[in-house]
Symmetry: none
Subunit: 222 residues, 2 copies
DNA sequence: GGGCAATGTTCAGATCCGGTAAGGACTGGC
DNA sequence: GCCAGTCCTTACCGGATCTGAACATTGCCC
């Protein structure tokens, strides 16, 4: 899902290159030229807000935006006095950038606020399987499957990197202890239990002489 | 709970007034003068990181900090080229402030990142349960339930992230001491007391071999 | 196909884990 | 000191889980 950026800027000489540069980087950009339009625009992930708007006070727009959506607001303005910055930040802005600025920095700041907003991916999905390390729950076709701790840990290692063949040694050191020496048959037992419980034909593939891998395009079993 | 700020700065002429100003505003400030100390310091909510450190590369410290904690990192440095900013922001910094700067702006930026980190909620609600960390009161179906300090701390950890399976280790380190080694049965005792007092069937679920979790859709018990 | 090593399957005993109760230590108020 | 509340430890138990071994099967290589 592309990141949606709303540019609120009445100066076309700034709005146009901004739109162009952001779009080129893969953002979905919408541009409006007034505070009223900004408040009526579609949902956005990030709002670039110029404070010098023709109709409403910029800070008022900032407050209202924050009240009615969860979008990050980056204020972009020519006024750079400390008092202005403090006021904007305390009115809900997530960042404050003074014109003129480089596109590279703007995009880095967008990435920074987005990173803080979305605490990374919460769960993995491989075909009909979902694995959520946060809740330690596993579902197949929407039905929860009860896994034991070891089974879950093994599965998590595997689905975290679909398609990659993970060696027995790596699984043993990651799921069991840091350094493991003894028999490795215990791993097969748990993998067998996983295959039986998940019942997804071909999901966990054996890489002979090496380890296991989950197949991204696995089909539903019986 | 006060906000903990870690100041990483080797110039005492800057570190000292910073510490003083932040402390006066109610922050709990810890100051270190090297990257190594920064990585070994106690947990913090915000890290003010000077990039010109004597031992380690500042950006390396930034990456490592973000890898091992969830603290917000605000880079504070004299170097203000756009390339430096982009590099720092992409290495995990949440904000980038060029010296010299005003204390008011710094504090506004701290408030901004904290606001983005904590979705400004004053109390938690899970089904018929409400938990208010500010007043340390707990109610079930509107009736106040008297909890002991430990019980409250445990419950707060659990409801702060409903659905998440929180490990015994995490609970022990967050409610008890930073590093905990000994017997862990005390946790079970308190959880048992919580379950009995709250009397919400299925609210606190045991995640076998891992820890506990509160179930968002828990029903009212008898 | 034959030999061999790796893997799959099954199962019972060992081990681990969490619930619970009881008792003692500690603390702060009076 | 006494008391009530809180916290911690210990011990026991039932159940879930892990593991090692034995045997069956599969895949690789010649």
């Amino acid at each position: 899902m592309p990141v949606r950026v709303l540019v609120v800027e009445d100066d076309e000489g700034i709005a146009w290159p901004l739109r162009r540069g952001l779009a080129r980087s893969g953002y979905e950009v919408e541009t409006v030229a007034s505070g009223r339009e900004a408040l009526e625009a579609g949902p956005a992930d990030v709002v670039l807000l110029d404070l010098g708007l023709p109709d409403l006070d910029g800070l008022e727009v900032c407050r209202r935006l924050r009240a009615l959506s969860d979008a990050a607001v980056i204020v972009v303005t020519a006024r750079g006095e400390e008092g202005d910055r403090v006021a904007a930040l305390d009115d809900g802005a997530d960042d404050y950038l003074v014109k003129p600025f480089g596109l590279a920095e703007l995009e880095a700041r967008i990435r920074a606020v987005l990173r803080r907003m979305n605490p990374g991916r919460t769960h993995y999905t491989v075909g009909p399987l979902t694995v959520d390390p946060r809740t330690r729950r596993t579902t197949v076709r929407g039905e929860e499957v009860a896994l034991t701790p070891k089974e879950f840990d093994i599965l998590e290692c595997l689905v975290a990197d679909p398609g990659r063949a993970i060696s027995r040694q790596e699984l043993l050191t990651r799921v069991w202890d840091e350094n493991w020496y003894g028999p490795t048959r215990v791993l097969d037992v748990h993998v067998a239990a996983l295959r039986r419980k998940l019942a997804i034909e071909g999901l966990i593939e054996t890489v002979y002489g090496h380890g296991f891998r989950v197949v991204p395009g696995a089909e539903v079993g019986d």
